[in-house]
């Protein structure tokens, strides 16, 4: 394992790897290392040391930090100025069995894995927040994409590509985000005794309103999140945020739309767990993140018929715990619904066979390969992971 602490050191490492044609694995805190195709035994480049906040200008709504910065650290600094990251970065605690679990996930890891929690509903995934970055490509060249201002269309929007690339395009060395004000008040409403169709319909009623919800999750009765209490067949959870007085108005408006929903004390904890996938921590189910058009959520969930599952993002995301034999059905159902099934956790052999996502149609696969080659022609970075 080689530790680097600066962009220059990354450049040196990549140039040497290029010389010797030696692919390597990029690791920071390692909390998401279990996702994606196993890459076999490769040299490890540890980038956790490329860390620290470079520049924070609250009035410009911008923060620049190095990717090894811990999520918890950055969140704390932003909170001091009543701001937050828009994409609600989460640590996936479902990889709890891994030896590295005690570590706090990094900013770069969250961006690369496109890891956003329930709050994504309001301000979008990482790609809607990442304004600019610096990185080292497979030619061993340091380059930048985007910029450090909130509005920019100069040249290609390369920051988008970094989000969800699982480290296959470049080794990032600096990230600039747009940040958002932290609402001064927040609450979670719960509707109990909801079958999936009715529960998701209630979530969509709020989603289609002007209430700007920051979390809309459906929890079936079998998913036992601590703090929820008895939910009967299932519960619809609605998280609203605003300044204190407007929040009361939003709660009233939400009740007009979905009927009598009570406030849930443990709402924040439940939403955190929903995003982390924490109920999968103590079992060995395969874990899938299936995205579908929100109206398809109840139907797809029913057709998959998993022992343990729940929905987030107003139905746009289904967390599914499944068995080996369910895999083809899950992929097929997601594709039919116009969505994607990401295999987040499974034994290595299955991840090797199934990949993170289903294979793409040939024309799309070809462009994707060309774009990859435009960054990393020798396939040095996380080869085959995704």
């Amino acid at each position: 394992m080689t530790r680097v602490a600066s962009e220059n050191e990354i450049v040196d490492y990549v140039r040497a790897a290029r010389e010797s044609r030696t692919p390597f694995e990029i690791v920071a805190a390692g909390t998401r290392r279990g996702a994606g195709r196993p890459m076999g035994k490769l040299p490890v480049l540890d980038v956790a040391g490329v860390s620290g906040i470079v520049e924070y200008q609250p009035e410009e709504l911008i923060v620049t930090a190095r990717p090894g910065t811990g999520l918890a650290e950055l969140k704390a600094v932003l909170a001091q100025k009543n701001q937050c990251l828009g994409f609600d970065p989460v640590d996936w605690t479902l990889f709890g069995g891994a030896p590295d679990f005690s570590k706090n996930g990094t900013l770069g890891g969250a961006v690369s894995a496109d890891a956003s929690g329930s709050g994504r509903l309001r301000h979008g995934p990482p790609r809607d927040s990442l304004l600019g970055f610096r990185a080292v490509n497979g030619f061993g060249e340091a380059f930048r994409g985007g910029a450090k201002v909130v509005k920019n269309v100069t040249g290609f929007d390369l920051p988008k590509l970094m989000c969800g690339a699982f480290g296959t395009l470049a080794v990032m060395s600096e990230l600039t985000f747009r940040v958002y004000p932290r609402p001064s008040a927040r609450t979670t409403l719960i509707l109990r005794g909801q079958a999936p169709e009715a529960g998701f319909a209630a979530l969509r009623a709020i989603w289609k309103s002007a209430l700007e919800p920051s979390g809309l999750a459906y929890i079936p009765g079998a998913a036992d999140f601590p703090g929820l209490g008895d939910v009967g067949e299932g519960a619809a959870l609605i998280r609203l945020e605003a300044a204190a007085r407007p929040l009361q108005e939003k709660i009233a408006a939400a009740r007009l739309l979905v009927g009598p929903a009570e406030e849930l004390e443990a709402g924040e904890t439940v939403f955190a767990r929903v995003g982390e996938g924490s109920l999968f921590r103590d079992n060995d189910l395969d874990v899938w993140r299936v995205t579908v058009p929100p109206t398809q959520a109840a139907r797809v969930a029913k057709a998959i018929n998993a022992a343990l599952w729940w929905g987030d993002w107003a139905g746009g995301l289904l967390w599914i715990g499944a068995r080996e034999e369910d895999a083809p059905r899950i992929r097929a159902l997601a594709a039919q619904a116009g969505g994607h099934a990401m295999l987040l956790r499974a034994p290595a052999a299955r991840r090797a066979a199934l990949g993170l996502y289903a294979p793409q149609p040939p024309a799309l696969a070809a462009v994707t390969a060309s774009v990859r080659a435009a960054f990393d022609p020798l396939g040095l970075f996380n080869p085959g992971r995704f």
């Binding site: 009035e59 289609k208 300044a243 398809q296």
Partner: protein
């Protein structure tokens, strides 16, 4: 000003090219020189050139066949929506096919339950909102050109508008596209489900200025209209006070739906144009707050405190009519320039907001240096500055001076940590300034992405990138020093 010379070998084949296009779209090929005049420029009128021919496909299949033909025949394609680009993005090539989307203007599906609309690329921006407003929805990105510009053009330019600080640019409101590649194959990117299921190519093609392929269908997000919107006008005796007020509002955690800045010169121009009744001031801010009633009341009360603390005067408007009047001057800012001079160029840099006073001083100095007037409007919320340079193209050399003035302004924007363009795109206008902002390694990386899609340089050649280098295909190896300088290309 020089335009890229046409390739005589392509011009010599004009008849056969036109014949081939007619085979694909029998009723949609424009070839007469007088008819082609309609396409000779976009909203950057100082550059003009008639295309070899124009073709107006009716569906995605025709688009794909045209592209396949052009690729095989080695004839460049310039896509065109409504031709409102301010950066010359839709400027034709003399030896190229202009592909117009005017006949692909149908809304294909409105899906309220999934909050999205699927449409053809030639649908105008405003038509989306018109189609869904009956149900209380709208499409958020609202470029001032929205009654004319098309969703295809919006996607290519990643267009913004007055409300994008709060609601985002096109890229934040686009869910999916169908996209035709240079070999005529169609790919689907994104869709109604969240997430890409692979690399975010949808994000990449948005704002790619027609260089990577052609959008033949799009799915966009619609939003529920906020129940309450109110407008305030704050006037200030100094630019730094106005700038400080903007910083204070944002720093306080308020994200106004819109926040527009106008300087004294602009206020004067619009007063003599449509008399919106603005106060006599060095700078004014027009601010929209929207949301639920209490949200808006809360924001307005806090904004009022900041305006007062920054020595500003405040007016408020609640009624639709009064709000419209407050906005009337800002919305007429472009048109009002016609009172000051026959011609105008609109610059589009973004700066960190705190640099506003310094940049406006710098622009005033440059205005003296170049001897041309300049009015400044500013999307204050997101730091996007629109200096409007006044000149007279009939006067010898004045266009060149105006362009040099504009270039100096953009250099200043980059020097304070900003960028060349916040929403209008690079096109031909800012192409030669790209090196001010990006290093060789940065530009090489972007250029390789272009090659990954379009190694033959089929789409919109000559735009965005300052020098053209050949795409090295074999093994995707990058070769330093393979740059072919193109002295024939126009300098900014």
């Amino acid at each position: 000003m020089l335009l890229a010379p046409s390739d005589p070998k392509i011009l010599a084949r004009r008849d056969s090219i036109v014949a081939a296009l007619k085979k694909i779209v029998p009723d949609g090929v424009v070839e007469a020189s007088s008819d082609l005049a309609a396409y000779e420029s976009d909203a950057l009128p100082s550059y003009r050139q008639k295309p070899l021919a124009a073709v107006l496909p009716r569906d995605a299949d025709q688009v794909a066949r045209i592209i396949r033909f052009a690729n095989e025949a080695g004839v460049p394609i310039v896509p065109r929506g409504a031709g409102t680009s301010l950066s010359g993005g839709a400027l034709p090539r003399g030896d190229g096919i202009l592909m117009g989307f005017g006949r692909m203007s149908r809304i294909l599906e409105i899906d309220y339950e999934n909050r999205c609309v699927t449409l053809q690329p030639g649908v105008t921006n405003a038509a989306i909102t018109r189609a869904v407003e009956g149900e209380g929805f709208y499409y958020a990105p609202d470029p001032s050109s929205q009654i004319a510009c098309t969703i295809g053009g919006n996607i290519a330019e990643n267009s913004g508008g007055l409300h994008c600080l709060k609601y985002g640019l096109t890229t934040n409101n686009l869910l999916g596209v169908k996209f035709v590649l240079p070999d005529g194959q169609m790919i689907t990117l994104g869709g109604k489900a969240p997430g890409a299921g692979g690399l975010d190519l949808l994000g990449l093609i948005t704002g790619s200025e027609g260089l990577l392929g052609v959008v033949v269908e799009a799915t966009v997000r619609i939003l529920r209209k906020a129940p309450v919107t109110r407008t305030m006008l704050a006037s200030f005796d100094s630019v730094p006070d106005a700038g400080a007020c903007v910083a204070a509002i944002i720093g306080d955690g308020i994200v106004p739906a819109a926040m527009e800045f106008m300087d004294r010169a602009t206020i004067g121009a619009v007063e003599s144009f449509n008399a919106p009744g603005y106060p006599d001031a060095e700078a004014i801010l027009i601010i929209d707050a929207d949301g639920v009633e209490a949200d808006v009341a809360d924001a307005m009360a806090r904004i009022a405190i900041h305006v007062k603390a920054c020595r500003g005067e405040l007016r408020e408007a609640t009624e639709t009519l009064a709000r419209a009047k407050m906005w009337a001057g800002r919305k007429a800012a472009f048109a009002a320039m016609g009172k000051l001079a026959p011609d105008m160029i609109c610059m589009d840099g973004t700066i960190p907001r705190h640099a506003l006073p310094r940049v406006l001083e710098g622009i005033a100095d440059l205005s003296k240096k170049h001897g041309l007037g300049c009015c400044n409007v500013f999307h204050a919320g997101d730091g996007n500055l629109h200096p409007l340079i006044n000149f007279d193209a009939m006067k010898d050399g004045e266009l060149a001076v105006a362009e040099e003035f504009g270039a100096d302004i953009l250099r200043l924007c980059v020097a304070v940590g900003g960028v060349l363009t916040g929403e209008h795109g690079v096109g031909i206008e800012k192409r030669d300034l790209m090196t001010e902002m990006f290093s060789t390694a940065d530009l090489d990386q972007q250029h390789r992405v272009k090659c990954a899609f379009d190694s033959g340089g089929l789409f919109n050649p000559g735009k965005v990138f300052p020098t053209l280098s050949a795409c090295i295909e074999s093994g995707h190896m990058h070769v330093h020093g393979a740059k072919l300088p193109h002295p024939d290309l126009p300098r900014f």
